[in-house]
Symmetry: C2
């Protein structure tokens, strides 16, 4: 597989840094960092996420959504390690001329997202700058004897998801690409971190990752980290959120591009060992949740879409690098993406 630009950049950034002996996970191996707490059965799960490009590109222009996402981005990382969230610190970088109305809406988004996640705002920092930027640092606790990371699946495990994919990319399409006259209507985008599901997944799963960067990036990262492959069994249309499907078809584009874009939907992708599938599904039923099975883990490296017993191999590495390579040119991105259309059944 090709190297991934983003991974390479991060590896280069920290190549001279020693790892903490108290850190359970290695680089890129976990959605949230996992740190031993001395003399405790708990491990600290902690993560930082900044909302910058989303604001600068106009993808997030609603202050309520910006506040909401500042919380949800890091809460979703905590969900992916099955942690119980304990708090969030938020650093506001705000323009000097910000209106009270804008600031109130931003704070309302933060407050509602905290309420949704049953988490408290613990502290923060405030700075003034020419443009709005937000950073959220979420943290929580997880039992040290049940740690869940992006690594650990085996051949024969079953791949599951907490929900549909593509809503983040559909939202981005309407905001950044679709011209006004062709508008198919607003896409309602206000993702919720899958915290309750994450805690249950933690009890049964062999690995887990959130789809904050979209389905293809997430699968590609899991392939690399586990040195394994994934076979997707349902039809592509069954994976995609109905609103995203409607949008892509109205625009005469193939369904799968909703899986390819880098703006995710914050679902969890996770694997359950074969022998645990029944008990997992039964436990999920008790919290009135019906997990969606996607396929199986295979020893052959790559993403495979199955159709009529034929496996179509998808170049996840090349698709994942594409957004970087077009330097943020959205229309060029779509046209380059379509080069890969023949891979999809």
């Amino acid at each position: 597989m090709d190297e991934v630009n983003e991974n390479k950049f991060i590896e280069n950034l920290v190549k001279n840094f020693a790892r903490s002996p108290g850190q359970v996970n290695s680089l890129q191996e976990s959605d949230a960092e996992l740190i031993e707490i001395p003399d405790s059965d708990l491990v600290l799960a902690i993560t930082i996420d900044s909302i910058v490009e989303e604001i600068e590109t106009g993808l997030y222009d609603d202050p309520y959504l910006i506040g909401w996402m500042t919380v949800m981005a890091s809460m979703s990382d905590l969900a992916a390690v099955g942690a119980q969230p304990a708090g969030i610190l938020i650093s506001h970088t705000i323009p000097v001329n910000i209106t009270n109305e804008y600031l109130n809406s931003l704070q309302k988004g933060i407050k509602d997202a905290c309420h949704e996640c049953h988490v408290y705002l613990i502290g923060g920092d405030t700075n003034y700058s020419s443009s709005l930027q937000m950073s959220g640092c979420g943290f929580g606790f997880v039992n040290s004897d049940s740690l869940l990371t992006r690594i650990g699946c085996s051949d024969g495990d079953h791949l599951f998801t907490t929900g549909f994919f593509g809503l983040g990319n559909a939202y981005a399409f309407t905001k950044l690409i679709e011209s006004d006259k062709n508008k198919t209507g607003e896409i309602s985008y206000l993702p919720k971190a899958k915290l309750n599901e994450g805690k249950l997944i933690n009890e049964y799963a062999s690995c887990c990752m959130d789809t904050s960067d979209g389905f293809i990036s997430t699968i590609d990262q899991l392939i690399r980290l586990n040195n394994l492959g994934f076979i997707i069994e349902p039809g592509i249309d069954e994976l995609i959120h109905p609103d995203a499907l409607k949008l892509v078809r109205f625009n005469h584009l193939p369904d799968w591009i909703m899986l390819a874009g880098p703006h995710g939907e914050f679902e969890l992708l996770y694997t359950i060992p074969h022998h645990s599938v029944n008990s997992f599904i039964s436990a999920a039923g008790k919290i009135k949740w019906n997990p969606k099975r996607l396929g199986t883990v295979t020893n052959e490296i790559g993403l495979f879409i199955s159709k009529q017993r034929t496996y179509h191999r998808i170049e996840t590495d090349k698709i994942r690098n594409l957004y970087d390579e077009v330097n943020g040119n959205k229309k060029k991105y779509i046209s380059q993406l379509l080069i890969f259309d023949n891979q999809w059944p």
Copy 2:
């Protein structure tokens, strides 16, 4: 006392947010937030600090210093609560056209500061933007039976410092105010978080706060939170770092303005109850450290500078608000500041 703009803004920002039942400190009461860890004798100390205005104004134009301060700002908060640091997460917001040389120097500053504090880089986030902005989220642990906050001093306690004041303001003066032709030379500014001192202070002190916003702001905040006053006994010149003193005198300005500016030096200001002073000084001697006594805590609210048995009351509230009120106009700031000169002995 007048309300402080910064406090008022933060109180307004979070006025609709509930406090976490697991949070030990109230708003503004502690340099780092203190969170109970379930079934543990430890408390999590956690803090976030962003370096934004310092970069935008040109105050920090050396990438090494920017990296260093990204770590030190939050490590100093941990020092002020006497915590053992456990890690730092850093969110980089970097310009697309950043050079490798610049990035390497930034990372070197981060690495050296981590090494200085015996702390590890745990994780982070990377975003691209038009301008560089950095956020550091430091965390550590402290025993739940010895919590140190900004609150707790009493009449008769002794006020101490870990070192001299004014180096941060002297540095800012050379960077932002002094014209090139009058340059008195570079001020060497690379503050170190007082982590070892903080751990010892934690055993003896009744309250503690770092001087990241300068001496006057720190004293003003301690006055408000404790509803008490402080009498400073040494001469002003004895409080100020020799390099800062040299600078201010070369520029024919009064010594005390090095205490007034908002760019701090990251020393710790703390109070020791009368009965513990001897044992504190003796314990400090064992780690070859000679704490510097500044004066006493008094029931009369305010900052008092003592000279020949006369107490001069300083309007810390008005001095503290001044920087905000001049909208960042540095020369206006100095001229407005000098209006308060008659208060100082």
